[in-house]
């Protein structure tokens, strides 16, 4: 197995007024290609900060992150954005779809950003992904015309349509009911098992975590249980 993400001694300190808040206190982690990893822990333990660091949305105070052989901590802001564009897909708790665009339009926007100036999107690929997520009849619907579960599936489709190296999901079922949570989690699992898609998911939900290949537990900015294997 190839290591697709390597984090070494990550530290992140925020300055709030005159007080230093240590969000991460030396986190080290290896994620293999095809892994489906759940990060659990109480609120404020540093889960989201860690995910934002992996996605290049934040820079660590200290430490190193290597994603798919590219050092995220040794590059400029513009280069970090470029790595994110090419290698990372995000799924958020609040879906964060563009309300003015249809499902297909949201995917096309992601494709356009991913492609940069290299060309147009791939309609066949978009249709394939939406069909896989059972959204083929919702292609031309706008987010507000869809249920929460459907919106989150579109968000997942948007994340995978550009074939990223890693999908980072921040509590993707946090805004869904039980039925829709199960559907979305099954989709994540299918992506992981059928396409060997690497996924790192923050969750508070033990049932959601149980669907992952392994779980790490965090507390007070540190990993306290680094490799809880899950029997599926």
């Amino acid at each position: 197995m190839r290591t697709i993400l390597k984090a070494e001694n990550l530290q992140k300190t925020y300055r709030v007024g005159s007080v230093d808040v240590h969000a991460l206190r030396g986190v080290s982690l290896d994620v293999e290609e095809g892994d489906f990893l759940a990060i659990m822990g109480p609120s404020g333990c540093g889960k989201s900060t860690l995910l934002h660091l992996f996605g290049g949305l934040l820079t660590p105070t200290a430490g190193r992150i290597v994603i798919d052989d590219e050092d995220l901590t040794a590059v400029t802001d513009a280069q970090r954005t470029d790595i994110r564009r090419r290698k990372i897909g995000f799924v958020f708790q609040r879906f964060n779809l563009f309300p003015t665009l249809s499902a297909d339009g949201n995917l096309r926007l992601a494709e356009r950003i991913h492609a940069g100036s290299n060309g147009a999107g791939n309609a066949e690929r978009r249709r394939e992904v939406l069909t896989l997520l059972q959204l083929e009849d919702k292609m031309h619907h706008k987010p507000l015309e869809m249920s929460g579960g459907e919106q989150q599936r579109v968000a997942l489709a948007r994340a995978v349509v550009t074939s990223p190296a890693i999908i980072l999901a921040d509590e993707p079922t946090g805004n869904l009911d039980t039925e829709n949570s199960a559907i979305v989690l099954n989709m994540f699992q299918e992506m992981n098992y059928r396409f060997n898609q690497t996924i790192i998911m923050i969750t508070h939900n033990p049932e959601a975590a149980a669907m992952c290949r392994r779980i790490i537990q965090m507390r007070d900015g540190q990993i306290v249980a680094p490799n809880v294997a899950v029997q599926i």
């Binding site: 954005t81 470029d82 964060n96 563009f98 003015t100 665009l101 297909d104 992601a110 940069g116």
Partner: protein, 366 residues
């Protein structure tokens, strides 16, 4: 069709988009209408002045400017001018300038002895007869067409005094309304006075020599050549050029401010969406280009509407008040540059601000 983020964003807030479009259109209208009016009036004056066949205008210093006229020249100068070698004819004229009959713009009326004046300037009555009585006038074809008045009709001059139209003449030359010199002297209570005397030379090529003779014979007066009278309205009206350029600058500021305000509000409302764009890997350039494209689309719509409104408004004002609008390519290009440039510039600050947003803060924006 509207799965483009730029078009979809505009359609999402149609009222705000319309206000922005109207702001840009206003700037374009300001430029087009004011410069169109200045150019139209200038060309109209030039056209009418070019029909004047007298070569020399003799007057008292300061008694005839473009927008003012006084009646302080004795008509006895006519005989003295006619005695000067090379002068074929001398015709006294009173020019009176008042507010337009419809309360808008200015209106000129001239008092002339019709027969010698018409003979000197190659004018003819195409309908009716020359003015004789104290309440009679003749008007040119344009005036007759714009005011929809013909022989037998009435127009009001000097406030609310009614004058009967007794003739229509062509071609247009000088003021569009003319009455007899005696009638004008009577109306203004200036007997034996006029504003200026038009002098026709026997040989137009000798006008400068004749002007020198006039100056020698009648010193202390003002001698102007008619072909230099209205070369350019911008030169005739002091600071008009400065005024027009100031107006253009203001139009640019209005356009830029309206677009900036609209885009700034848009950015604030869409902070979370900008965060999502950043999470998707959109570069600073991409985010700036999305916002600039939206501003340019708004500006382009404002430009089209501004041009359309300018042409329609110019046409309606011309029909109602007879003011002449002539639009030039250079000012149209200036208006286009102001509309598009103002919009693009106005959106630049909000765009740069959006591109510089912290993605994590933007994603958590409520």
């Amino acid at each position: 069709m509207f799965d483009s983020l730029v078009a979809a964003n505009i359609l999402q807030r149609p009222v705000r988009a319309l206000v922005s479009v109207a702001g840009v259109a206003l700037g374009v209208c300001l430029v087009m209408l004011f410069t169109g009016l200045a150019r139209g009036m200038s060309n109209d004056l030039e056209r009418r002045s070019s029909n004047m066949r007298a070569e020399i205008l003799f007057t008292r210093p300061g008694s005839k400017e473009l927008m003012t006229s006084t009646v302080n020249l004795s008509t006895r100068y006519v005989e003295e001018l006619e005695r000067i070698a090379g002068v074929e004819a001398a015709v006294p004229v009173i020019r009176y300038i008042s507010q337009g009959s419809r309360g808008f713009g200015i209106e000129q009326v001239e008092g002339v002895e019709w027969a010698p004046y018409a003979a000197m300037n190659g004018m003819r009555l195409i309908e009716g007869r020359a003015p004789e009585g104290n309440n009679e006038v003749v008007i040119d074809e344009t005036k007759a067409r714009n005011n929809r008045v013909g022989v037998g009709g009435e127009i009001q001059i000097f406030g609310n005094r009614a004058y009967r139209v007794v003739g229509v003449y062509s071609p247009e030359s000088g003021a569009r309304i003319k009455m007899s010199l005696a009638a004008m002297q009577d109306a203004l209570e200036t007997p034996n006075k006029c504003s200026y005397v038009l002098v026709k030379c026997r040989d137009a090529n000798e006008q400068r020599v004749i002007a020198e003779r006039i100056d020698a014979a009648l010193p202390g007066n003002k001698i102007q050549f008619t072909n230099e009278l209205v070369l350019n309205i911008e030169k005739s009206i002091p600071y008009l050029g400065v005024f027009l350029r100031t107006l253009v600058g203001l139009a640019a500021v209005v356009s830029a401010l309206v677009v900036m305000l609209a885009m700034y509000t848009t950015i604030t409302e869409r902070t979370r969406e900008i965060g999502v764009l950043k999470a998707l890997g959109a570069s600073r350039g991409y985010i700036i280009s999305v916002i600039e494209k939206e501003a340019l689309l708004i500006s382009f719509l404002g430009l089209v509407i501004g041009f359309a409104v300018s042409f329609i408004a110019g046409h309606l004002i011309h029909r109602t008040y007879g003011l002449v609008f002539e639009y030039g390519w250079s000012w149209a290009l200036t208006a286009a540059a102001i509309g598009l440039g103002g919009g693009a510039l106005g959106a630049l600050y909000p765009a740069m601000r959006a591109a510089g947003l912290d993605p994590v803060s933007a994603l958590s924006y409520e």
